[in-house]
């Protein structure tokens, strides 16, 4: 066992030496004792810190944290460290016209805000479990991220503060760490801080991993991280529009005036609603916009928690598809992209003509339950 470990360590060191990026030395990218590089990627993050803080500031902090379907443009060169906060707390939201429920959320919305970083960037992440506080996301928040102003412009979830004390955790699929340390559960009133490096490009899910993980995710605790490849995608300078779409299911049953989580339905994979960006009407009341002849890029994430998505745009063909968002996984000319729960893709298509294009889950039972949206194309601009 020990000999094998030694061999592995020796192999990793060789790899690190032979594949270290030319621009930065390992010393410049490694931040803490115990970190090491394999294939130019950084592993060995320090232990998570669990603590109590007297914090009642903005629950979402980070200049590249945006409300769906926006994506913050990256303005930095090379790699940087992002200080990100995403608190967890309950929120009453609407998921379809007149249908509200008390969701467990990251940042107050379902799905939570999208974090955008570049491959190789480091994220220093803080989360306070504020599930026993009333937290508002509709007040103006100095020091908050673009998320708040975007949400205020189009608060289609009609968010209202709620209280639902519960232990929670955060699991970033974009992080490569020991889950029993970083993704550990914290009770109400506690905060956790940990770091991860975006070693792989792509579109990644984040979610709460506390048992029952089915209930915690179905209650709304998930969102997307977009990690742009360090070399970019080949079409970067041709893309006119970029949007993020997260598909997910709700399992709700009427209980008095409100809707509540239905565990039997969740176990039976019988969703009450299947949605893009958290609401059956999210991409219809505010359709995506483009013009004829433009190249549109969608960052697609199927958060599940249970079902697949057969994503299709009626009237268009995906000219480029990067499965999971990795530029090595390129497909061409696809009509539909099949995403299992927690799979993702970056897709591009050329908008053929002026008109209206439906975005659907082509598993039509799910489209009929809400997984449908619209892209409206204006006239061609020269």
């Amino acid at each position: 066992m020990q000999a094998r470990q030694l061999l592995l360590t020796a192999a990793s060191m060789t790899l690190a030496l032979s594949l270290a990026p030319l621009t930065l030395t390992a010393d410049e990218r490694l931040k803490h004792d115990g970190e090491f590089m394999v294939d130019g990627m950084i592993f060995g993050m320090p232990e998570a810190r669990v603590f109590e803080e007297d914090y009642d500031g903005p629950p979402v902090v980070g200049e590249t944290m945006t409300a769906l379907p926006h994506l913050a443009p990256l303005t930095h060169e090379g790699n940087k460290t992002h200080e990100v906060r995403l608190d967890t707390f309950a929120q009453k939201i609407e998921v379809a016209n007149g249908k509200t429920f008390n969701a467990w959320t990251f940042g107050g919305t379902v799905p939570g805000p999208t974090l955008h970083v570049r491959e190789g960037d480091r994220v220093v992440f803080t989360m306070k479990n504020r599930s026993d506080e009333m937290v508002s996301v509709t007040e103006p928040v100095p020091g908050g991220s673009p998320f708040f102003s975007q949400l205020n412009e189009n608060n289609y979830l009609k968010t209202e503060p709620a209280v639902s004390p519960m232990p929670h955790s955060m699991d970033f699929h974009s992080g490569t760490v020991a889950a029993d340390d970083k993704w550990r559960t914290i009770p109400p009133g506690q905060s956790i801080e940990f770091e991860w490096v975006a070693n792989y490009p792509g579109v990644f899910m984040y979610h709460c991993g506390t048992p029952s993980v089915l209930m915690h995710t179905a209650m709304g605790q998930y969102g997307a991280v977009v990690v742009s490849p360090k070399e970019g995608y080949d079409t970067d300078d041709q893309v006119d529009r970029e949007y993020v779409i997260v598909q997910s299911e709700y399992y709700l049953r009427k209980h008095g005036d409100e809707y509540r989580y239905d565990h039997t339905a969740a176990m039976n994979r019988n969703p009450s609603q299947v949605v893009f960006n958290g609401h059956v009407n999210a991409l219809n009341s505010e359709p995506l916009r483009a013009n004829a002849g433009e190249r549109v890029r969608l960052y697609l994430m199927n958060a599940g928690p249970n079902d697949t998505s057969s994503f299709h745009v009626i009237g268009a063909i995906f000219d480029r598809v990067w499965y999971e968002g990795n530029r090595e996984n390129e497909w061409r000319g696809m009509q539909t992209v099949l995403l299992g729960a927690s799979n993702s893709a970056v897709v591009e298509f050329i908008v053929p003509e002026e008109g209206s294009y439906k975005l659907v889950d082509h598993e039509f039972a799910d489209a009929e339950r809400g997984a449908a949206g619209t892209l409206i194309a204006g006239p061609r601009r020269q």
Partner: protein, 262 residues
């Protein structure tokens, strides 16, 4: 282990408790012993337990009960209790460290924002103790059997409460219908501390190496119906609290051994 060590430290905070003359049976009811099928698998080899008889408070400890306690043991006031035994929100909803208020801080409302250490100390000062997790669940299971509540109704009520616990508008203790055991509001008012709440999983010293993380329900559940999930969620969420944790929906009641009763 951490909990045990800290528990004995917190016990030391109550100095010279004279043994009470005995607990009045007005306050607590006898729960007869019997056979109990555990609703969550704590040990692969054990499903059925033989329970001893014990007494359980009819209702949760109220704000006024706890005010009486801290007047006798001021080292459990929020301005005096050591930070080791409570988080920053301990009794935060009371207007003063030793005064009650309105709404959830009212005299007859269930005590919330109380740490496991403080709950334990309170019960000890009454000549009792916190119920064990098995005792609490046994009482709950017996009550369900006697009332004939269906699994679906039980699960519905619990999931509804978990997602909308009404922490801002708690009802008074002992107001919910008592049921055949004479016990009020086991479900639906506040979650309750039990003595061995970390038995299943823990965040500190790892009693369960697999840590109760994502997808760890199956190995702990004997059945996968909604009722077992609802019960599991109660175990699970309590297990993930720290003994210092205080929240708006967490209170407690005490248990007693038969020989301590009048």
């Amino acid at each position: 282990m951490r909990t045990t060590r800290l528990a004995s430290l917190s016990t030391a905070l109550i100095v010279c408790i004279s043994s009470q003359a005995g607990i009045s049976s007005d306050r607590a009811v006898r729960i007869d012993g019997g056979t109990f099928i555990q609703p969550v698998l704590l040990d692969e080899n054990q499903r059925t337990l033989e329970m001893e008889s014990f007494y359980l408070d009819r209702a949760q400890v109220s704000n006024s009960d706890f005010l009486d306690f801290i007047q006798q043991y001021p080292n459990w006031r929020r301005d005096q209790a050591p930070g080791l035994f409570r988080d920053a929100d301990y009794l935060k909803h009371w207007p003063e460290p030793d005064a009650l208020g309105d709404g959830v801080a009212g005299a007859d409302r269930p005590l919330t924002r109380v740490s496991w250490y403080a709950a334990r100390a309170y019960c000890q000062a009454q000549g009792g103790r916190l119920p064990s997790m098995d005792e609490w669940e046994y009482a709950s299971a017996r009550q369900r059997t006697l009332t004939g509540q269906s699994d679906d109704d039980y699960a519905d009520a619990l999931f509804a409460w978990y997602s909308n616990p009404g922490a801002e508008t708690l009802a008074a203790v002992g107001q919910g219908e008592a049921g055949p055991l004479g016990v009020h509001d086991l479900h639906g008012l506040v979650l309750e501390w039990v003595e061995d709440f970390e038995l299943l999983l823990t965040m500190g010293d790892q009693t369960d190496l697999l840590n109760g993380s994502c997808g760890d329900t199956a190995r702990m559940m004997p059945e996968f119906d909604a009722a077992h999930y609802a019960t599991f969620l109660r175990y699970q969420s309590r297990s993930n609290y720290s003994p210092r944790t205080t929240t708006t929906t967490l209170g407690f009641r005490c248990a007693y051994d038969p020989e301590d009763m009048k």
